[in-house]
Structure formats: C-alpha cells, structure tokens
C-alpha cells in the first residue's frame, strides 16, 4: 500500500515549484539594467531597431553612441567584437539608445538632415579617426569623393586609406560614410551593401 516515491519525482516537483513565475525574468532584467547603469558599470547598452533599410543594432557607452551595425554584419558577432575590443559588460538596455532611435526615425522620415548626438569614437584611432570625424561635414544631400576627402584631411595620397576608414566606420548612417563616392561617381563600397548605400543617397535626394 505504501507507494515508493522515486528521487526523480521529488526533483521534478522541486523544479516545478521553484520555477520562475511568468514575466519574472524580464522584470529582473530591467531591474539589472537600471542598477548597472546607476552603479556606472553598464559599459555598453544596446538595442535593435527596425528601419526601412533593415534591422540596425545601436550600442552606446556613457559617453555616447559607440556602434551602429547592419543586420548583415551578424548582430551576435558585432556584440562579441564589442566585448573583446571594448568591454564585456554589455546589456540589452534600450533606454540609453532612446534619443538615437528617435533621431534615426526622424532621418528616415525625412524630418532630420543632421544628427545631434554624442558620439564615442573609442573604436577608431589614427588616420581612420581623423577621416571619420571629418565625414559629418559632408552635408545631407551632397556627396564627396574618396580622393577629395583624402586631401581635406591633409593626406592627398591616402585615397585607399580613406576607403578603409569608411569601410571600418563604426557609426555608419550617423557618420555619413555613405556620402563618399569614387571620383568617377561610382558608389565604391559600403559595409551595409551597395543597395543600402544607394537607398540612403536616394532618400537624401543626392544625385
């Protein structure tokens, strides 16, 4: 009459009644985001947004926007890279990116022609940094050439290096490397793909 309960049954009972209640994990995640930001240890906050050119990953430090990445780059790979190159203290935390997401929305709605955001150029250095810092001066709706940009940053022979600086731009869209073309008007290259580059130029009404 005395049925033997097996240990396995006891364990599954335990697992059942210690299981997280619905919603608990999400709620605790948000609490961790707040606490980590408050404690100054949220080195990188990120989120993803949907845009007419596909999903974008946005990542920011306390100082400013650190990375904009295209879905085609592989979002997990991008985060792994940030973990190695910058800091592994990374959380999905959309709040820090709210102003960025807002301005990007406005840009795609053609209500914004320049970004007014704090940028963190920690991922760049040297000549590339100089080029990337120059690029926002190329106005919305206009384009420039790799060759001309090389001259403007003080190294007229570094045309290929300007190309590399554009190709390694950690902040595409916001730092408008899509506005740099070949001297003959050909598109050149783009991390997000040439279709995206021409779509952005079309959106801006650049010829």
């Amino acid at each position: 009459m005395k049925t033997k309960t097996n240990v396995q049954q006891d364990i599954s009972n335990l697992l059942a009644f210690t299981a997280a209640p619905p919603g608990a994990v999400d709620r605790l995640h948000r609490r961790l985001e707040e606490a980590a930001a408050g404690a100054g240890i949220l080195d990188v906050a990120y989120t993803t947004i949907d845009t007419p050119i596909g999903t974008l990953l946005l990542a920011a430090t306390e100082r400013g926007l650190l990375r904009v990445a295209f879905e085609t780059e592989g979002l997990d790979l991008v985060l792994d890279g940030l973990g190695r190159k910058f800091s592994p203290r990374i959380l999905r935390s959309p709040k820090r990116l709210d102003p960025v997401a807002f301005e990007i929305d406005e840009y795609f709605a053609r209500r914004r022609t320049a970004f007014d955001l704090a940028l963190d150029f920690s991922l760049s250095s040297g000549f590339r940094l100089a080029v990337q810092k120059y690029l926002p001066r190329i106005a919305y709706g206009t384009t420039d050439s790799y060759k001309h940009v090389a001259a403007l940053v003080g190294n007229p022979k570094a045309i290929r290096a300007v190309g590399t600086a554009c190709a390694t731009n950690p902040l595409p869209l916001v730092v408008p490397c899509h506005r740099v073309l070949r001297t003959n008007g050909e598109l050149g290259g783009y991390l997000g793909g040439l279709a995206v580059k021409s779509a952005l130029l079309k959106l801006e009404g650049a010829s």
Binding site: T5, L14, T18, A24, L28, L32, A36, S87
Partner: protein
C-alpha cells in the same frame, strides 16, 4: 584568445536557473533581491573572470554569499517579529505550499546542497567548493535533504488522507 561573451548572454543563459536557486534558498519573497544583487555583483567583476571559469558555478557562488547575508538579516527580523507564513503569495496549491515550507525548514546545508546540485545543476565537486567539506559530504547533504523533503511530503499526504 579571450572569448569572454557579452554579459547579456550570461544573463540570458543563467537568469532562470539562478532565480530558481535563489527562490529555493532564500524563499520567494526575497528571491528577486538575491537575484538582483547576484547579477549586479557578477557584472561588476565579470571582466576579471578567467575565461575558462565555470560561469554557472561562479554565479551560484555569488548567489550563495548574497543568500547567506539575506538569511542572516531575515533571521534578525524574524526573531523580533512573529513568523509570517500567511502572507506567502498565491501558491498554486496548499500541497505545494507545504512542500515549499518543507524546503525552507531544511537545515541550511541540506537546502543549499539540494538547491545547488539539483536546481543549479552543479556537480558535487563545485557544490563542495561553495559549502566547504568534501564532495562526498555535499552528496550526502543533498541526499539527506531529498529524504527529509520526501518524509515531510509523505507525512503531509498521510495527514491529508486521514483528515
């Protein structure tokens, strides 16, 4: 090559298990606080964690320390107040509620061993590193814990059927 993954992935992977362990060790009311303190402390020192480390064991070790602190605080409060068992929120059934109380009333070492091995999934070698003593002693504590739980559970069933 240091392949330290973004902390977000650590949270995604271990969040539910650590919460389960916290619920078993400090109870449902304080589990959220224990979880939060654990992950905040873990995130703080994450960059220094050797990439070869057993992340689950590392998290449970931190959770254990936080739980000990909280239980000490609880007992200080409890000793100055009447024990409040009535306020346990929405338990699925009275039987689960009893099983819950049985878990909470296990001797600390047994409850910890059960939680870290059976709920946290740690091998006894890791459990022993947290609790001290030998892996064999941790194995015995977990087995005793399960036996005591079963006894309570079984007694309850007898009480219920003889009612």
């Amino acid at each position: 090559m240091d392949m330290k993954v973004p902390f977000e992935r650590v949270v995604a992977e271990h969040s539910a298990t650590v919460l389960r362990v916290c619920r078993a060790v400090v109870g449902r009311h304080d589990a959220d606080d224990a979880w939060s303190e654990t992950f905040l402390a873990a995130m703080r020192t994450y960059p220094e964690l050797p990439s070869s480390a057993n992340v689950e064991a590392w998290l449970v070790t931190i959770a254990h320390r936080k739980a000990i602190d909280m239980i000490r605080k609880q007992r200080r409060i409890v000793s100055s107040m009447a024990i409040d068992t009535s306020s346990t929120v929405a338990s699925p059934s009275s039987k689960n509620h009893e099983l819950w109380n049985a878990l909470q009333s296990l001797p600390d070492k047994q409850r910890h061993a059960v939680a870290y091995h059976y709920l946290g999934g740690l091998p006894y070698l890791e459990v022993a590193k947290i609790l001290g003593g030998t892996p064999e002693a941790s194995r015995r504590a977990a087995a005793d814990g399960i036996r005591n739980l079963r006894k309570t559970y079984h007694d309850m069933e007898i009480q219920e059927t003889s009612r």
